[in-house]
C-alpha cells in the first residue's frame, strides 16, 4: 500500500478525528481507495471514513490490503504538519513508513499492529430530518454550547434545526435554518433526540478536512454526521442516542 496526499493537514485531521474515538484502527486499501473506522470502545459511536483513490496524488494498492495502526503513534508523527506539506504512507515488511515533505523532509517508521479485520456493519436508518451546513457553522455551534452541559438535544421544528444544551445554570439554544442562511439545505419532519455532547465535540477536527457536513437524525435514532471529502469521499460518524 502506498499513497501520497498533497494536503498533509487534511489527512492528519481525519486521523486525529478517528483517534478521538478509538486507540487503534484498521486501514483497508483496495483499488478504489482507502477505508478506515470502527466502533469506539464504549460502543456509542461508529466511524466510517472512505477516501477514494482519486483523492490522492499517487495511490497504489493490491486487490485488498489490510493494516492495523496505533493512532497515537501516527498522530504524534503528524503533529507538526503544515498546510502545504505533502504526506506519503508506505507499508513495508510490517512497518508503516511515513514521509512528510515540506520545507524539509521528515520520515517516521511506525510498527503495525495486529488487529481483527473490520466487518463493516450495515446501518440503514430512516432519518426524520436532514440538514446540510458548512462544517465551520457546525463547529461554531458546538463551540457556543461546549461548556454549557454534557448532553445535547437535537431537534427539528418546521424545517428549522435546533441544537440545545441544558446545564446547571440554564438552557442554551442555537437555531439554524435555510431562511437564516446558516443551513445549505434542510428537509424532513419534526423529531428530537438527546446525544452526549462529548461525542459531538470529538468530530470538530474534521473542519480541516471537510467544508460541508450533513446532519441526519430521528427521534430515538442515532445521529449521523456525514463530512464530505473531495472526490466523493466521506467521513461518517454515527452517535447512539440517550434514552431520555
Amino acid at each position: 500500500m502506498k499513497f501520497k496526499a498533497v494536503d498533509a493537514v487534511s489527512i492528519a485531521s481525519i486521523l486525529r478525528t478517528v483517534g478521538e474515538f478509538m486507540p487503534e484502527v484498521t486501514l483497508v486499501s483496495t483499488k478504489e481507495g482507502l477505508r478506515l473506522g470502527g466502533v469506539d470502545p464504549s460502543r456509542v459511536a461508529y466511524v466510517d471514513i472512505v477516501i477514494p483513490s482519486l483523492y490522492f496524488q499517487e495511490f497504489e494498492s493490491g486487490e485488498r490490503e489490510v493494516i492495523g495502526i496505533k493512532l497515537e503513534d501516527v498522530i504524534n508523527a503528524l503533529k507538526n504538519v503544515k498546510k502545504n506539506d505533502g504526506l506519503t504512507f508506505f507499508t513495508n515488511e510490517g512497518k508503516l513508513e511515513l514521509t512528510i515533505e515540506g520545507d524539509f523532509e521528515r520520515s517516521f517508521i511506525i510498527p503495525l499492529v495486529e488487529l481483527e479485520e473490520p466487518k463493516n456493519p450495515g446501518i440503514n436508518l430512516q432519518f426524520a430530518f436532514k440538514a446540510k451546513m458548512l462544517t465551520s457553522t457546525f463547529n461554531e455551534t458546538l463551540d457556543i454550547l461546549s461548556d454549557m452541559g454534557e448532553s445535547v438535544v437535537i431537534s427539528s421544528e418546521d424545517g428549522k434545526l435546533i441544537i440545545s444544551v441544558e446545564g446547571d445554570v440554564g438552557v442554551s439554544r442555537v437555531e439554524l435554518s435555510e431562511a437564516a442562511g446558516n443551513l445549505i439545505e434542510a428537509s424532513g419532519t419534526n423529531a428530537s433526540s438527546v446525544y452526549g455532547l462529548d461525542y459531538l465535540l470529538k468530530t470538530t477536527k474534521m473542519r480541516n478536512s471537510s467544508d460541508v457536513v450533513e446532519l441526519m437524525f430521528g427521534t430515538q435514532l442515532p445521529l449521523k454526521l456525514r463530512f464530505q471529502l473531495p472526490q466523493e469521499g466521506y467521513g461518517d460518524v454515527y452517535i447512539a442516542p440517550r434514552a431520555e
Partner: protein, 409 residues
C-alpha cells in the same frame, strides 16, 4: 466543617453530648494538645522526639512554602509510628483516635523556597520523612506553641505548630533501596513515581518523597505542596493503571462491593463495559461541609477525561483501578460514597483510598445488570430520599444506548 452552635457547647460543657457526638471534640482536642505541649521544653526552646515519619509541605505563599516536620514529643522509636499510619489505622482507629494522634504530633515548621531541596537533603530532613521506621530528631524552637489544629479534606490534620529555627536528625533514616537509587538518579518525577509504585512502595511514602523534592530530574527538583503531591501521585499511578486496564477484556458480570469507615460508606458497582467511571458523593445533613442533603457527581470516560479534578475521587479511582489490574479485567465502575454525620472532622483523603481498597474484599453479590445492582444499593442507602437513578452521572450511564443495537442484523 459542620458548625456546632457555641451556645450548645456552653450549655453542655462536654458532659451532655448535646451536639449528638459520642464524645466532646473540644475536650479531646484540649487534652491531646496540652499533653503534647507539656512535652515541648519551651523554656529552653527544645523539641525532642521521633517523626513517625510525617511531613507536610504547605502551599500558602508558594514558591516560599512552609515545611512541617511533624514530631511526637518525647516519643522515641516504633511507638511514634502510630501517629501517622493510614494503612495501620484503617478499621482500628476511630475518628476520635485519629484526631488524638494528630493533636499529639507537633508541627515543627520552617519556611523554605521550593528549590531548597538540597539543603533539606544534606541535613537528612527529607530522608527522615521517607524512612521505613520512625526517626529521632531534635529541634531548636522559638516563639509560642500555636495550639490550633488544622483540618483538610486531602491532607491529614496538622497538630499544634511551633517555629523551628534548626532541625537536627539524630538517628539514621532507613531509606528503602529503590528510593535511595531514585534519589541519585536523573529520572523524571513521573517515571520515578511509577517505578516506586511498581516496586511495591506504598503511596504515602511516594507522596512524601515527591513532596520533599527527592524525585525528578536532578536540576529541576522542587518541594511540592503535600496536597498537590497526594493528587499527583494518585493521578500518575491511576493514569498508568488505566492505560493497562483499558485494553483488557471486560468483566463478565455485574458485582456490588461495600465497605465503610469513619462514617463514610462506599458501594462500588463493577459492570461489563469498557472503562467508564462514575463518582457520586452523598453528603447527609449534619455531615462535614453540608448543612443539607447535598449530592455531587462526576464521570471519567475511557480516555481518562473527567470534568473536574477531585482529590477524593482520585484516591478512590486508584483503588478501583488497582482492583481491575489485579483481576486483569476492564469494566465500568460506579462508586457511591455516603458521608454521614459520624464524619465530623476531615482527616484527609487517605481513608477513601484505604476503604475502597478494602471494599473489594467484600462482595455483596452478582447481579443481572446495572439496574438490578443499583436497586440493591438504593435499598441500602442511609436515606431513601436519595434517588440514585435520578443522579445526573448515573442517568448518563443508564440512558446511553449502544450503536451496535442499531446495526442491521
Amino acid at each position: 466543617m459542620r458548625r456546632i452552635p457555641a451556645e450548645l457547647c456552653v450549655r453542655c460543657k462536654g458532659a451532655k453530648f448535646l451536639c449528638g457526638l459520642t464524645s466532646c471534640p473540644i475536650l479531646e482536642r484540649f487534652r491531646a494538645v496540652t499533653n503534647a505541649a507539656s512535652k515541648v521544653r519551651l523554656d529552653v526552646g527544645l523539641l525532642q522526639g521521633s517523626t513517625p515519619p510525617s511531613v507536610i509541605v504547605g502551599e500558602k505563599g508558594y514558591p516560599k512554602v512552609s515545611l512541617s516536620f511533624n514530631v511526637a514529643p518525647e516519643v522515641v522509636g516504633e511507638q511514634a509510628r502510630l501517629y501517622e499510619d493510614p494503612a495501620g489505622w484503617w478499621g482500628r482507629a476511630s475518628l476520635h483516635d485519629i484526631i488524638n494522634y494528630r493533636s499529639s504530633l507537633v508541627s515543627n515548621f520552617s519556611m523554605y523556597r521550593i528549590n531548597d531541596v538540597w539543603k533539606l537533603y544534606e541535613r537528612e530532613i527529607s530522608l527522615a520523612t521517607i524512612s521505613e521506621r520512625p526517626v529521632l530528631s531534635e529541634s531548636k524552637v522559638t516563639g509560642k506553641l500555636e495550639t490550633k489544629l488544622k483540618f483538610d479534606g486531602i491532607v491529614m490534620p496538622r497538630g499544634p505548630t511551633i517555629k523551628a529555627d534548626d532541625i537536627r536528625v539524630t538517628e539514621n533514616p532507613k531509606v528503602p533501596k529503590i528510593l535511595d537509587r531514585l534519589i541519585n538518579d536523573d529520572v523524571k518525577a513521573n517515571d520515578a513515581v511509577l517505578t516506586l509504585y511498581r516496586g511495591g512502595e506504598d503511596v504515602y511514602r511516594v507522596v512524601s518523597a515527591l513532596s520533599t523534592g527527592l524525585l525528578g530530574t536532578l536540576k529541576n527538583r522542587k518541594l511540592v505542596p503535600t496536597r498537590w503531591a497526594i493528587t499527583a501521585v494518585d493521578s500518575i499511578v491511576g493514569d498508568s493503571l488505566l492505560k493497562e486496564v483499558r485494553d483488557l477484556p471486560w468483566v463478565s458480570e455485574t458485582s456490588v462491593f461495600f465497605q465503610g469507615y469513619l462514617g463514610n460508606y462506599f458501594h462500588i458497582i463493577i459492570y461489563p463495559s469498557s472503562f467508564f467511571s462514575t463518582w457520586v458523593e452523598i453528603w447527609y445533613p449534619t455531615s462535614l461541609w453540608a448543612g443539607e442533603l447535598t449530592i455531587t457527581d462526576l464521570s471519567e470516560d475511557y480516555w481518562g477525561k473527567y470534568g473536574t479534578l477531585d482529590g477524593g475521587y482520585m484516591a478512590a479511582r486508584l483503588a478501583a483501578l488497582e482492583y481491575l489490574t489485579k483481576i486483569r479485567r476492564s469494566a465500568g465502575v460506579m462508586i457511591i460514597r455516603e458521608v454521614t454525620g459520624e464524619y465530623f472532622a476531615p482527616v484527609g483523603n487517605w481513608h477513601i483510598r484505604e476503604t475502597v481498597r478494602r471494599a473489594f474484599n467484600n462482595r455483596l453479590g452478582s447481579f443481572q445488570g446495572l439496574g438490578e445492582a443499583l436497586d440493591l444499593v438504593q435499598g441500602r442507602l442511609k436515606d431513601g430520599r436519595v434517588k440514585l437513578r435520578e443522579i445526573r452521572a448515573i442517568k448518563r450511564v443508564l440512558n446511553q444506548t449502544r450503536i451496535d443495537s442499531f446495526f442491521d442484523s
